[in-house]
């Protein structure tokens, strides 16, 4: 069972349009101060490829190397299909511990409009097979590497033990198919978001995930494992800490943005709930129409007046066709609107997490400052009491702390800068994402209506023929 869905990063014409503006210069509608080596200037939907020896992961100083003026760009389009689970027959021992048994095929096409020799990938089109737990493993690695320095790492789809068990048992029914499709679509969106991020794309873990044929099993992603429990404990501890940190916000931008994201969170959750209710009601409508159609058909059979009998049967058919339409529309409601909103609710949580990281960094800086202060006082006392041997030790410690304080300040500034860029990129992405989804959704609504018109217009002469 291969289900292929093409998930482009945007209409083709848009790509060319943006590329041409790139040619004029890397400064494209960026809202913040740019360094000459600003990585984000041209990264809207394309991924800018720079020299692979650039180590951007852990540098906290000014970025090395110089961005070329017209950087080569490459569009990565991963497509995810669902592989049939005959993998189970092979890995019989591990089945018990396996919690993400579903396998997915990722077809990746790298398009490279400006031929470049500096390519991250060996091939243009290739595909790999990955398990659900691999995706989760990738996410946890990226989170541990990037979250604390301020990068918004896209959250991975959530686990569902119930759903998974059903699929594993091998039930080939409607709900387990839906579950698999939902998961597949969520994974595709997750991967697209990850590779759209210019920094994350270059991460070796991501590259390994995309390219290598065999991936080491991700062990720490099991829901009920010790690693899972540890994660939960850490999350709780974080939440408590957040409440106790009181930060003096000197930067109005951050305050405003935090408020903005709080509001957005609330509204999106509300909208998500309403859309879920809409999906439910439309499914109900579809069911009710189907049962009415059956009832009308039976009524038509009972009817002894021939023309009326035929009209009633036709009515039953129309209602049945429309019920199918409504069902499809409900699915569209779901996949376009509801899932998008769900994704963004989780993304906003990630964004808020990043703001929290900044607070933590600030806290660390403040802590080392306070320590320095104390040590200085201690040193003064020692000097007063004239204890030369201890004094030297104190002076050494002070030197260390001074460096720590400087480092803390640099960290804080770096994370603030990174967050500003990330938020800018995030907002741009959000706008684009919503717009393209809205258009797609409206098109489905329109198609549904067109079909309905056709069906009723076909019915009308039947009704008029009753005499």
């Amino acid at each position: 069972m291969f289900v292929l869905l093409c998930f482009q990063s945007g209409p083709a014409s848009l790509t060319t349009e943006d590329l041409s503006t790139n040619a004029n210069g890397p400064k494209q509608a960026s809202l913040f101060d740019d360094d000459p080596d600003d990585l984000f200037a041209e990264a809207t939907e394309e991924v800018s490829l720079d020299s692979p020896d650039r180590d951007v992961l852990l540098s906290d100083g000014p970025s090395p190397a110089i961005t070329p003026m017209t950087p080569p760009t490459s569009v990565i389009t991963p497509r995810i299909g669902h592989a049939h689970d005959d993998m189970f027959t092979h890995s019989s021992f591990d089945e018990v511990e396996e919690d993400g048994g579903d396998s997915f095929d990722i077809h990746i096409s790298v398009s490279d409009p400006e031929k470049t020799s500096m390519s991250l990938f060996k091939l243009r089109e290739f595909s790999v097979r990955r398990r659900f737990s691999d995706f989760l493993g990738l996410h946890s690695k990226l989170a541990s590497k990037y979250l604390h320095i301020g990068y918004i790492v896209p959250p991975a789809p959530e686990k569902s033990i119930v759903g998974m068990t059903k699929v594993k048992v091998g039930k080939e029914d409607q709900s387990s198919n839906e579950f698999v499709e939902k998961r597949r679509s969520a994974l595709e969106r997750y991967l697209m978001r990850t590779v759209k991020h210019p920094i994350l794309l270059k991460d070796p873990d991501v590259l390994q995930f995309l390219e290598s044929s065999e991936l080491p099993r991700a062990v720490s992603t099991q829901a009920l494992s010790s690693a899972g429990l540890l994660r939960m404990v850490n999350k709780a501890a974080d939440a408590v800490n957040k409440m106790t940190i009181k930060m003096n916000e000197s930067d109005a931008w951050f305050e405003e943005k935090q408020q903005h994201f709080e509001n957005l969170d609330v509204q999106l959750r509300k909208l998500h709930a309403s859309v879920e209710s809409l999906v439910l009601h439309r499914k109900e409508l579809s069911m009710n129409m189907a049962s009415f159609a059956k009832s009308a058909a039976m009524l038509g059979n009972s009817e002894d007046h021939t023309a009326l009998s035929r009209a009633l049967s036709q009515l039953a058919e129309v209602e049945e066709k429309i019920d199918q339409l409504q069902q499809d529309q409900a699915n569209a409601d779901f996949y376009f609107l509801s899932e998008l909103l769900g994704d963004y609710v989780r993304l906003i949580t990630a964004v808020k997490g990043v703001f929290d990281q900044r607070m933590k960094t600030w806290q660390k800086w403040q802590d080392s400052q306070m320590m320095l202060q104390k040590k200085r006082e201690a040193e003064a006392k020692l000097q007063f009491n004239n204890k030369p041997d201890k004094l030297q030790q104190a002076k050494d410690e002070i030197k260390e702390l001074e460096m720590k304080v400087q480092q803390g300040e640099r960290d804080f500034e770096q994370i603030s800068k990174t967050i500003r860029k990330e938020v800018g990129r995030f907002e741009k992405e959000r706008v684009k994402d919503f717009k393209s989804t809205v258009i797609q959704y409206l098109e489905t609504l329109l198609q549904t209506q067109q079909q309905m018109i056709k069906y009723w217009e076909a019915f009308l002469p039947e009704a008029k023929a009753i005499s």
């Binding site: 014409s13 909208l271 009415f292 009832s295 009524l299 809205v438």
Partner: protein, 406 residues
Amino acid sequence: MLKATLKTKRLHSTQSVSDTPHLPQLSREVKFTVHTKTTLSSFQKPEFSVPRQHEDFIWLHDTLVETEDYAGLIIPPAPPKPDFEGPREKMHKLGEGEATMTKEEYTKMKQELEAEYLAVFKKTVQVHEIFLQRLSSHPILNKDRNFQIFLEYDQDLSVRRKNAKEMFGGFFKNMVKSADEVLISGVKEVDDFFEQEKTFLLDYYSKIKDSTAKAEKMTRSHKNIADDYIRISATLNSLSSDDSTANKKHLEKMSDLFEKLRKVEGRVASDQELKLTELLRYYMRDIQAAKDLLYRRARALADYENSNKALDKARLKSKDIPQAEEHQQQCLQKFDKLSESGKKELTSFKGRRVVAFRKNLIEMAELEIKHAKVRSSIQLYYICFIMCTNELQYAWGICKILCEQI
């Protein structure tokens, strides 16, 4: 010529937002005005109006049913009590959820509530009016004395209505009726026409009852979707007011779109209800009235057969033969009369039914097409708008394609 029309006054006009509509608690709070135009000399004036309540209609129906002379006629079914349960429930929910809604959302939901309330009024007026029109167009029933009183008597009718004894009598009548159902299946039918009609009506009744219930569920789902649209529209509105990016306009437009869609959805729901659900409901009741006619005839047949047996017994015993003969003659006459008028009634009933179905199905299909076209053009407009603000070329291409499709 005799023509009766019906009007009703809404109990509370809601001009200001802060007022909540007063929903009737009891059916006697709904006041009808019956307006009659006639050329018949049996009436005092050619044109006149009287105030009536729902209970008055029920009284009229019951007196007609209990009149022996009309046993061979299909008595038009009594109009059901005005049912404000739906809007009442909604108002309750609205009151509960007021705290969590924005002012706009609350206003819109109140509008929906008003629309539903109005729809119930429309429905109830329609169904009471049809009752009167059936009576006025029936050659025998429109001459009924009680019907004239109903139309003409300008005082309150409650003194003439059922007292406790009569109500008990009504209950007894219902018990007898269920015994009739057993009777009707047991009696051997002599006439092919009636045999066919019996089979047909029994079967059709159960099917139409089922269809009515399913149609009601469909209408409910439509209404639920309209409510969801309101909430979505309101949240989109809040999002757009908070937003400062390029999304702002799109969100505003989406909010507008859902607002317009919910109005259409609401109208679809009420149209479907009036044309389809109400049609099915009415004919369900009408078929019950036809079945009642069959029961009465079956009872007359049973009486006739019993009188035959009594006559045979009398002949055997050589006692009371003349009374038995006369009784048998009476039963036969009654039975024949019922059969004759019954046949006429049932035939015209079929014609009436076919005409009504045709009219309503055509109207419903036309309305569905109209609504779908309205929805289409709304959606098309919004698609074009959202796309045209930026990528003109791309948008123009899509617009052209979609316009061609319509």
